[in-house]
């Protein structure tokens, strides 16, 4: 046996120093991250805590922990100051979100598949037009759109809020799906064609399953954006019975003389819940979907 090479005391000391330095550095980095993270998330935590406080306590204590927890804010808030309960507003939101989400997924898939896989006359110009609408600020089209929907007679209905999106009106999603499709090799589709599938069958049986992560991201984005959309419903919906959650929250500020902040906060917590639940359920696919090119061989 040969003797192990002697490690000098110096080297050992150096290694120890190195290790200590690494430990201090990571401790510092993590503390900083935790502090900044807490600062960012504190308003949310405070809101959640405050929703269980009485209206008086909200302004008397900066702590988020309620002294005398009560669910009165939830009970009163749910009833609202209108003839409807909050359930009605949740319903309204869903009546917009669900057709919009399904429509977006179907229409954007069709459009993206066409652009990504087929050659047709004027493809470049048409594609540029689609991308150009992506760059167009939303406000620019508000007035012409409003006039158009007024003439069709769609005002104060849910239709202007979901029909454009359900007809692939959101260029962002089309673009996102095209990028995702470009990263998927064509071999599988060719194999399906050799197997006797027509274009639609190839799309449904082969492309859509491979596109699932991207489609989930599309639905998730559409869900969250629509849930949070305030301007759209504000412009097109006039009667309270059609209000979605975003408008209903504002409603409780408008109509009460002394604002019942605990009710508003309680309902805000409830309004956040669907987005959070949907996000955490789909998180795994969502991340796979937005990191384009994530096709496993």
């Amino acid at each position: 046996m040969t003797a192990m090479p002697q490690i000098s005391a110096d080297t050992l000391a150096n290694m120890e120093k190195q290790r200590r330095r690494t430990r201090i550095s990571s401790a510092f980095r993590y503390s900083l991250l935790i502090i900044v993270g807490l600062i960012m998330v504190y308003p949310l935590i405070w809101m959640f805590g405050a929703s269980f406080k009485t209206n008086a306590e909200i302004f008397s204590s900066p702590s988020f922990w309620p002294k005398e927890p009560t669910v009165q804010g939830y009970i009163d808030g749910w009833k609202t100051s209108t003839p409807y309960t909050f359930a009605k507003f949740f319903m309204n939101s869903m009546m917009i979100i669900i057709p919009k989400m399904i429509g977006t997924a179907i229409s954007c898939t069709l459009v993206a598949y066409g652009f990504a896989r087929f050659d047709f006359p004027f493809k470049k110009i048409i594609f540029s037009t689609v991308i150009a609408t992506l760059l167009l600020p939303n406000v620019v089209t508000r007035i012409p759109q409003y006039l158009l929907f007024r003439d069709i007679g769609w005002l104060d209905s849910f239709l202007p809020l979901w029909v454009p999106s359900a007809l692939a009106g959101d260029a962002f999603f089309v673009f996102m799906l095209i990028q995702f499709l470009r990263a998927i090799p064509r071999d599988m589709e060719e194999a399906a064609r050799v197997d006797g599938a027509n274009t639609l069958q190839t799309l449904i049986y082969i492309v859509v399953p491979m596109l699932t992560p991207a489609l989930i991201s599309v639905c998730l984005f559409q869900f969250m954006w629509t849930m949070n959309d305030f301007l759209g419903p504000l412009i097109y919906l006039s009667s309270v019975e059609n209000y979605p959650i975003s408008l209903a929250l504002k409603l409780s500020i408008d109509t009460t003389e002394a604002f019942a902040w605990n009710q508003i906060l309680a309902m805000s917590c409830l309004a956040l819940a669907p987005s959070l639940i949907v996000f955490f359920m789909a998180q795994k696919y969502f991340i796979e979907g937005i990191s384009t090119g994530g096709v496993k061989g």
């Binding site: 060719e190 064609r193 197997d195």
Partner: protein
């Protein structure tokens, strides 16, 4: 029957590039035809045109007596095995196999019977409930072959199916595919196969006949032995064979007997070559396979004198690299016949044995030493 015919088939791309220049090819029923050539020779394009994945710019493709030019791939009676398997990633092996039959709305029990039969033949029974990502390369390739086999197509198309496998697996899959082809033939349901590869070993070992392509032209269609022994032109001669055939510029003179001059040295052409020579005197390309030259002492009669610039010892044989004038030659000599004392820089004589010696027209590259 499943005969495949290509008549003046052309492929022109939108940018005016002509990839395939009016090729004619007849593949007999049950024949294993290999398309081989360097990359960019349009062998894959030709295959994809047969499959219907590329449009045909001119000419006609027939399977049996029906013209398939404008049929969709699914209606051509073909099945294809892709280079990177192209298994449907979200379907289990069982569904991958049966997808084609399901689209044809075959009854369930028939699909199940076919799946069972095919998985038995390819020994993939235990893989049926796995997803493609849980398969090794060799297993995935077998499933891909199974997916083609289950459709009982008239023509099988293989697009470099073994190029993603390691050398050992490639050798065993090669045997498996040829065995399968023979087995189908023996069972009375011969399968016509078009097999694209760039690997001449695959081409030589698998094909009943081989079609050598270059730049969208067919250079020669023949069985492996003919291709090796009687290459129609210098390209085929250089492409087939390991190490490749020595090709060098030489001068042919007819002075009673044909004589060859290379780098200022003149030898009398071996009798075997003279008998089949059909060329006019003048500059030619001389082709000699490395296996058909002997190493002699310098100055031996009818041998070219050259300098050894490298010796590769392979075990059973030795590759001797010899420079004659500007031309580099390789001679492959059995180890027991090689004088192991020879070294780099030594002068030796290289004597063609005459067997497999070819003379090619300098301009056209045609073999002019094939007269009977």
């Amino acid at each position: 029957m499943a005969e495949l015919q290509l008549k003046s088939v052309e492929k022109m791309y939108g940018n005016g590039f002509k990839a395939v220049h009016g090729i004619d090819l007849d593949v007999k029923d049950g024949e294993f035809m290999v398309l081989v050539g360097p990359s960019g020779c349009a062998k894959s394009t030709t295959l994809r045109m047969i499959a219907g994945l590329e449009t045909i710019s001119g000419g006609e493709i027939r399977i049996g007596d029906k013209i398939i030019n404008d049929l969709t791939p699914g209606k051509r009676g073909i099945a294809m095995v892709f280079q990177n398997y192209a298994l449907y990633p979200h379907m289990k092996v069982r569904k991958n196999l049966s997808f084609g039959l399901k689209l044809k709305r075959k009854p369930k029990d028939e699909i199940e019977a076919s799946t069972g039969e095919v998985s038995g033949i390819l020994e993939i029974d235990e893989l049926l409930d796995r997803l493609p990502k849980q398969l090794s390369g060799g297993q995935a390739q077998r499933v891909a072959v199974g997916r083609a086999l289950i459709k009982s197509p008239e023509v099988f198309l293989f697009d470099e199916p073994l190029s993603n496998l390691d050398a050992k697996l490639r050798a065993s899959m090669r045997v498996r595919i040829t065995d399968l082809h023979k087995r189908l033939r023996d069972e009375g349901r011969p399968a016509t196969v078009i097999y694209v590869t760039h690997d001449q070993v695959e081409a030589m070992t698998m094909g009943d006949r081989i079609c050598v392509m270059k730049d969208g032209h067919i250079m020669q269609v023949a069985d492996p032995v003919t291709l090796y022994e009687k290459p129609a032109n210098a390209f085929v001669a250089g492409f087939i064979g390991m190490p490749e055939m020595n090709l060098a510029d030489a001068e042919l003179t007819m002075d009673g007997t044909p004589k060859l001059t290379l780098a200022g040295q003149t030898i009398t052409a071996p009798a075997d070559l003279s008998a089949r020579l059909n060329a006019a005197p003048g500059p030619v390309t001389l082709g000699i396979r490395p296996q058909h030259m002997t190493i002699e002492t310098d100055g031996a009669a009818d041998a070219f004198s050259g300098v050894i610039h490298n010796i590769e010892f392979m075990g059973h044989e030795v590759n001797v690299h010899v420079t004659i004038g500007d031309a580099a030659f390789i001679a492959v000599v059995p180890t027991e016949k090689f004088n192991l004392k020879l070294q780099r820089g030594d002068r030796v004589g290289l004597r063609p044995t005459g067997v497999q010696m070819h003379i090619f027209d300098k301009a056209s590259g045609e073999n002019v030493s094939l007269a009977e």
